[in-house]
């Protein structure tokens, strides 16, 4: 085993993992505000990529303009999803909500397929595609974009949740919705916020990864699942734990494919998911929660 191979596996894993982390945080933000797993999260990732393409090709916008437009449009989709599908529910039991999100994801995927067809599309990289050598390994400029944007988003999240009133209110909802309501926090508005933030984050993840992986109407499924894994490893925290979870997952996948066998790449992710659910359901870094009576 040579050092440069190991370095390459790690670097590839980190950049894939950063994407899983971004998607994972989207899962946990909504989970913390509403107590549900939003299985449509992957579709916002897809929407980010496909809408960028739409603004690039149909409206002939330059890349720097198409990206904010795509993020805005996906955020509106997230907002509408919450307003039209989640909020009207009379008795929001978790199982109903989960099924609604699954239905929503199928609907979004189906509509995108009808609108944009089934083909895979490429998006141009943000700044060229000449490989950059680091030690014996190589990465693309796009990988740097991915890592940098992930860091910025995680930092912004941290700031929002710990240093703004509405972020603190959202955390209060996560701890105890009823109590949060009693002290005057508009819980329903917080739920709406959580959908807005996570759909925006999901679409950004979808956009920055699209130049590397290409995009199609159905890319959301697998990316969504991997992001979900990352969130589980991180114990559904909307902070650093999920980021570490995503990076860990990416690196393990890459090392597994390189050192053991590429046939087991996806199996590795799901074995980790199952192990964590069995042994440490509170996540790798979480403290065990005491039973609330």
């Amino acid at each position: 085993m040579q050092f440069d191979q190991l370095l390459q596996y790690t670097l590839s894993g980190l950049s894939t993992g950063a994407i899983y982390a971004l998607i994972g945080i989207g899962f946990s933000i909504i989970y913390n505000a509403t107590g549900i797993i939003n299985f449509a999260q992957g579709e916002f990732v897809m929407l980010g990529g496909m809408l960028t393409l739409f603004f690039l090709e149909a409206l002939k916008l330059p890349l720097w303009a198409a990206i904010p437009c795509a993020v805005a449009a996906s955020t509106v989709a997230g907002l509408l999803f919450e307003r039209l599908a989640i909020r009207p529910l009379r008795q929001p039991t978790p199982i109903n909500l989960v099924i609604i999100t699954i239905g929503g994801s199928i609907l979004i995927r189906g509509l995108s397929m009808l609108l944009w067809g089934k083909d895979t599309h490429a998006i141009p990289p943000f700044s060229g595609d000449d490989p950059i050598a680091i030690g014996g390994a190589t990465i693309l400029p796009q990988h740097l974009w991915i890592l940098a944007i992930t860091v910025i988003i995680v930092a912004a999240n941290r700031f929002y949740f710990y240093h703004t009133i509405s972020g603190k209110a959202m955390r209060a909802c996560a701890y105890n919705r009823r109590a949060a309501g009693l002290v005057g926090i508009d819980v329903r508005r917080m739920v709406l916020f959580s959908f807005i933030i996570s759909s925006a984050m999901g679409s950004i993840a979808g956009i920055i990864v699209a130049p590397l992986t290409m995009t199609a109407y159905d890319v959301g499924v697998m990316l969504g699942l991997k992001g979900f894994c990352a969130a589980i490893i991180g114990g559904m925290s909307s902070g650093l734990a999920t980021v570490v979870g995503g990076l860990l997952l990416g690196v393990l996948e890459s090392l597994g494919a390189g050192l053991i066998s590429s046939g087991y790449k996806d199996a590795i992710a799901f074995i980790i998911l199952l192990l964590i659910l069995f042994i440490r359901p509170q996540g790798l870094f979480g403290k065990a929660e005491s039973e609330r009576v």
Binding site: Y9, T120, P131, I139
Partner: protein, 381 residues
Amino acid sequence: MMKRFLAVCSVVCIGLLTTTAAFASGTIKIGGLFAVTGPASFLGEPEKKTLELLVKEANSKGGINGVKLEAVIYDTAGDATKAVQLATKLIKDDKVSVIIGPSTTGESMAVIPVAEKEKIPLISCAAGIKITDPAKHWVFKTPANDHIAAEKILNYMTRQKQKTIALLTVTDGFGSSGREQIKVLAKQKGFTIVADEVYGPKDTDMTAQLTKIRGIKPDAIICWGTNPGPAVITKNVKQLGLKVPLYMSHGVASKKFIELAGVDAAEGVMLPAGKLAIYDVLPKNDPQYKLLKEYDQGYKKDYGVEASTFGGYAYDAFLLVSSAIKKGGTAPEQIRNNIEQTQKLVSISGVFNMSPKDHNGLDLSAFEMVKIVKGDWTLAK
């Protein structure tokens, strides 16, 4: 009660009238089973459109030997159970003389017993080798076997004096059948497989597999899959600066692949291509050239998109049927016999030479090795 009885009667009468009318004017019904929707719709959709186009064209020229054609096409959605039901329906209710399709190997294998039992010729548009190997009395298929494409690559590699192969295949039906066939052929031809890696159809980064391959230093990489995987791999190869010749399967022989991988990364990639994708670089005296051009331009005119190899499979099935009818066969039995005797039939996929033992009838000439240079195909010599 009486009303319903009358209604049933009249339906039956109309049914009888239309069938007799059909026989009187000499119409042959061709059944079509295509996966027009569902995951295999990229196959079924062009197949359906092609068959409709051809039947319309034949009828506007007064039919074949004065016999009009009628296509009855059903959508199987890629579902084997549905395909079997619809095949039975085509035979029992619609009374077709021949069935074209289904689009996928799984569906074809499921429909074969029906066709054999009911004695109706079936011309499958799926590529799986099992469909016609061993040859079944009533079953034919138009796509060339995958192993012909594999053999084409290996023959080319022999000429380039490349000895060791790294395999990188997708974990679906197409990839695993390609993987098995390359392994068998490589052994026969004296190649050594030094790496045998796989990737998932939705995987987004294959640098791990390629880094491993880089460490092994093979003479060539053969990747077997359909888009987008091979495009990702091509980009990854460029990112890693791998200088090993990269071969792709015939599954990516379309301009879409070059577009996805990018002109830079795709430079120098080699693959066996069906001739439809590359007809404009073929020598003008190629026997298929004229037909390929006609099909592509006709399809573009009617549907506004380029003709695809998959639609070509239905085209060829129709050619087999129409030439069988031309030789004077209208009953299922005659059509079958005439198809089996097909010799030197120039078609989209290649030149068919059928025999009782070979119900596919295509050989190595069905593919051309091409190399991607500056975003376009060039024949690899």
